[in-house]
Symmetry: C2
Subunit: 296 residues, 2 copies
């Protein structure tokens, strides 16, 4: 099977499991369940849950113990998108061609739906850890995810991104945003998967660095595509970074140098897979290539 | 020492510990730290962390293992107040006589500060559980708190409260709001404290029911004071429920019957303390009386 079909199959598997974990839309509070599920169903590639699953498998995990954590990490990602889109923050009306959460459910319900997804992700991880075979592994993985999503992780990146709008920032600050807003949750996905599988220190370290490098490359490529990408292929408006006078890799380094940096990060990520069996790590190797080749 | 002095001393102890757990206000993301700490310092009686501490002690806990959980529950309570006050939800400018979070830091930062406090509460609980003497107790307590704060807990109550504004609701729905919006986090405080102390099932059950009854009574008394209370003593505007045509216990049952129901709940709460040594449970017994006698 080619890589794209394999990725699609894995995303579809996550979609199915996600449906199982969505709250049933009944009860006095059902509006918030509808709002949560609306954005959970709005899709995407399910990159983070797929990475968590692959890291689990690569580190020797055989069963489905990773699933609640894959679901939780997608819920956290979804909450962050809902809150990002709010009028007070990015004020976006569309995401992946669909009306954003607050456009459908109103601002109050959107704030609450984001809060709901964040709380519920922990409720899922902790509840499943308690009844699992290895509660300590679940506890470690949940902690890792809380750090990735937290004030020295995703939220830090988001705060600095919001505060830097319309401002020219230097590379150090830009790297801080990329690392925290994007890479930390990708690193957390990789680490949580490895921890759930009981990985040894060297494997845990390898998947962490892999996650960091593809996370950083992912964000640089995002910035490049905002300049050179095709709206139709990408399915979103391009050029918004220039319109918003946003400091980006292309703005600081130019397009060619930005590609070079992204390619270097990807090659560093792939090197880290060397300690694993090359057949076992093929998917993650292909995935890192895909990050620079997507939409091309 | 009289009860009020004792309560004040315990709140002050929590205040001190809370300061230790507040993020240092440095780094690129320091604005969100300032916003978090601003609302954490805005005070109040620290009811939930004090309850968690007292439940821990009552169930035999001797050391300070409860502290991170008391801190976390206050952070969750604070996040819920910050998001409640937002223009899209209650649109409040003042809380406890101080400007609300979004009035000082703006809406975007307030949304992020709420998200930050919620994430950070889990980061604290899970991180401390891992290095504690009893990781499983920490895991159980964290799960309990995630449920209290979650979509079948505090968020459910908040959603239905927001949706019911200006609507006449029946007692069942009103009880749903009180139980979820207020009582569930108070129950979670009691249960988490007991679990951290390794309490037996009968004690865990007793403190849970105690928490439920004082939580429900607390909310009924709040509604009553909004009708008959004195603005100066309460330190807040009264009469807002009538102005907002809010369905409340006084609106459904009248003042006298509402007091009667609240008093009955408090006496049920106190009965549950009978299985403990009466000296050990004296503070919680006095606290339940205080809930109906406060501001009088």
């Amino acid at each position: 099977m080619d890589f794209i079909s394999e990725l699609k199959e894995k995303s579809k598997y996550i979609d199915l499991k996600l449906e199982e974990y969505m709250p049933k839309e009944t009860g006095y509070q059902k509006t918030v369940f509808e709002a949560m599920n609306y954005s959970l169903r709005a899709g995407g590639k399910r990159l983070r849950p797929v990475l968590l699953m692959e890291s689990y498998r690569l580190c020797g995990g055989k069963d489905e113990a990773f699933i609640p954590f894959s679901i939780a990490i997608e819920m956290i990602h979804t909450y962050s998108l809902i809150h990002d889109d709010l009028p007070a923050i990015d004020n976006d009306d569309l995401r992946r061609g669909k009306a954003t959460n607050h456009k459908v459910f109103g601002e109050a319900m959107s704030i609450l739906a984001g809060d709901a997804l964040l709380s519920h992700s922990f409720e899922i991880m902790l509840g499943e850890s308690i009844v699992s075979k290895y509660p300590n592994r679940g506890l470690n993985a949940s902690y890792e995810i809380s750090k990735g999503a937290g004030i020295y992780g995703m939220i830090a990146g988001q705060v600095v991104d919001v505060e830097s709008e319309g401002e020219h920032i230097d590379r150090e600050k830009l790297d801080f945003i990329h690392m925290n807003k994007t890479a930390k949750m990708i690193i957390a996905s990789m680490r949580a998967g490895a921890m759930l599988a009981g990985a040894e220190a060297d494997k845990l370290d390898a998947v962490s660095v892999y996650g960091e490098r593809i996370g950083l490359a992912f964000q640089i490529v995002d910035d490049i595509l905002d300049v050179v990408g095709d709206e139709k292929t990408l399915g979103k408006h391009v050029g918004s970074d220039i319109e918003n006078e946003k400091s980006t890799y292309p703005a600081i380094f130019g397009i060619d140098k930005s590609w070079e940096i992204a390619r270097k990060l990807i090659s560093q990520a792939k090197e880290k897979l060397d300690i694993f069996d090359s057949e076992d790590s093929l998917f993650l190797s292909n995935l890192s290539d895909y990050i620079i080749n997507r939409e091309y």
